[in-house]
Subunit: 410 residues, 2 copies
């Protein structure tokens, strides 16, 4: 076998202004340089308990069960769905983009009957539509995406929890793309299980999925509890309902691991725990409301700048996510060439799109550490230069000036 | 809601001499301080390709499909089992400890018929026993653990692949506790799927699971391939066999993501990828054989030192893992009190045990960055002091001197 050596990790200093992952906050990167601890070391379990407390605040909830799933955001989604939904149950999925479709993909493997409320890409569901769909399908569980980055639209969720409780439906919301950037009001929404990720507005690396679970969902999930033969003791009893079909993504087992009993399950991903904890500290030190306002300001400036360059935005303003913006690629412009020029000449990444929007829109983000004036302005300035080179006609400087004006007005 | 602030991550400098996680190599911790890249950025996919190449060398294989599963070692086990084993298939599990039982726990949820070859804790299976069990149960897949840290025994695997191929059985081996510390000779063993972890002999943090897959297992897994609706294009076809029951842990989808097609699946956990890449670089720069020899030397010294202190070791010497040693807790000594004194007075962690061995043995590791003379000697010296305090009778200094003598002889 040939032995090959590679040099040190030395990524170019890219400014990541796509739909995520985005640049991590330097404090988060530094936190990951701390060394390991044993998984049941009191210092380690102390950090785990602090992390639970911090994410309660981030998720705006009093839920006791608020912790991390050790995988990327998708692991959090799958853990939530397979732990909530039993074979034979009916699941209603609100689908208004690629990530709504992903919920179907993941749930299809759970043995549930899947029904959907399909909304055109670029729109969101109304409360009335959701109520009608619940009445039509009589689901046991409702699942939806808060911010679907594929369309850059955010589903309003006030009232959804109450609606679900009225019809005795458990609810799940994915907030991967919004947690720490837009309001994720778990308790006010009244929803049962919410999961997120670190690599977008939380300003951390991908690889850890914070999850929060209401008491009534906890009861449902613990009714499916199973204790492993290798660690079972005589006082432990399994639940009475169908066992959760994954071991790694079994939220009952993960809760037992995060509980005072500390039942061995996976070995907590120490460095990612440090990252998640530090990311939450940064979010809460800034303050949730200040942070949401910072994202919203960056979004207004970005939108104003893009429009001043003669670009159309995708979707309506009313439900636009405040951390990523869909921009229609002008006729005659090669979207991928623009992205390559942005990356190669300016070291700035903007996003392409999925499925029906591929080749039609770019997705430009301003998330977490990057939801900030200078980065919005630098991105617009670079995009101006690239679009000038591609023959797109607009007044030079208009984008940057409009964004600057927006910031000055506020 | 009360807002609580916490200070910086500042773990005590513990010397982790248990069964893992152990201290990470400082270079691995530094590598994680590098900032994010977009997931399809050519620099990022370049790092992914390098990582595949590095782990081929670590797994001692030519397997094209050698990559990371984004979760802890347990995620790699579950991904391997649910991707290999279809509902209705027969799986034969060699169980000789807690992690053998874990394979059953994970596989029970796959819909397979599970048969077992049960070996007393502290022993390993012979080739004859494995062949007999294959003839009795006629399994489609055989699964076993290489080094089961619960018993500190390593299952010999030379000949197992040939045996499996003779009876047309696919094979899976978990090497979480041995990869990078004992020989994991994937191709020489002739086994099909091997998974590992970073947090033991690889000297990295938990949270990433390297996996390697033979061509014949790849063919079997791709026959279960499914492309998601949100990213499917007209040239893509699903496989003909039963879909893999997890989305996040679907190795076919993960391979499509790591392939040149880069089909969107999860977002690769960037920092953990950096850690996995750096850990493999360190392993290969030292050289696999030198590294295995370093672990074996540390093990011989540790065993000699422990025996010189009048302690009995658990299990036979012949199949003892060279990176973790089971030590019988002497009569009249409180094992947990000793562990607490080691931690509180010396900042050294040694491990407790699972199931039938709980309270009967300690597990003392010397793994990865910690498989090293000074750390073996410091651990033995500390254990001497603690055991003197507990009234265990032995000649003071005997443990350290015996270990030193072992190192000097070699």
């Amino acid at each position: 076998m040939t032995q090959t050596f590679y040099g040190q990790i030395n990524p170019p200093a890219r400014l990541l202004m796509g739909p995520g992952p985005v640049n991590a906050h330097p404090r988060v990167l530094r936190a990951m340089a701390a060394d390991m601890l044993g998984q049941f070391d009191p210092e380690m379990t102390g950090y785990m308990n602090q992390t639970m407390d911090l994410y309660r605040q981030v998720f705006m909830t009093e839920n006791r069960w608020t912790f991390l799933v050790d995988g990327t955001a998708r692991a959090g989604i799958e853990a939530s769905l397979v732990s909530l939904v039993e074979p034979g149950m009916t699941l209603l999925i609100v689908r208004a983009g690629r990530f709504g479709l992903l919920l179907s993909e993941i749930a299809q493997r759970s043995g549930a009957e899947i029904t959907t409320l399909d909304i055109p890409w670029g729109e969101v569901a109304t409360l009335e539509q959701i109520e009608d769909a619940i009445l039509t399908h009589r689901p046991h569980v409702l699942a939806c995406i808060h911010g679907d980055t594929s369309t850059t639209m955010a589903q309003p969720l006030d009232g959804v929890g109450a609606l679900c409780r009225k019809y005795d439906v458990l609810s799940y919301v994915d907030t991967t793309a919004t947690l720490g950037g837009m309001e994720v009001a778990t308790d006010r929404w009244g929803v049962d299980v919410v999961s997120g990720g670190l690599q977008k507005c939380m300003g951390g690396p991908p690889g850890s999925a914070p999850v929060t679970i209401s008491d009534r969902a906890t009861e449902h999930i613990f009714a499916r509890r199973h204790v492993e033969a290798g660690i079972r003791s005589s006082d432990m009893r399994d639940g009475t309902r169908a066992r959760i079909p994954s071991n790694y993504l079994d939220l009952a087992m993960i809760m037992d691991y995060w509980s005072e009993r500390r039942l061995n399950h996976h070995t907590e991903a120490t460095s990612m725990l440090y990252a998640a904890r530090e990311a939450a500290c940064i979010v809460l030190e800034e303050g949730l409301q200040a942070r949401f306002a910072r994202h919203a300001r960056a979004s207004r400036a970005m939108c104003a700048g893009l429009r001043a360059m003669g670009l159309d935005l995708f979707g309506g303003d009313e439900c636009r996510m405040t951390n990523v913006t869909g921009v229609c690629i002008p006729r005659g412009v090669d979207g991928e060439k623009v992205r390559a020029r942005m990356r190669e000449d300016f070291e700035i990444e903007i996003g392409s799109a999925f499925g029906p929007l591929q080749g039609r829109i770019w997705r430009i983000g301003a998330m977490g550490y990057n939801a900030e004036k200078s980065k919005v302005l630098l991105t617009l300035g670079a995009l101006e230069a690239v679009l000038r080179g591609e023959g797109h006609a607009f007044a030079a400087g208009a984008g940057v000036d409009a964004a600057l004006a927006t910031y000055r007005k506020e």
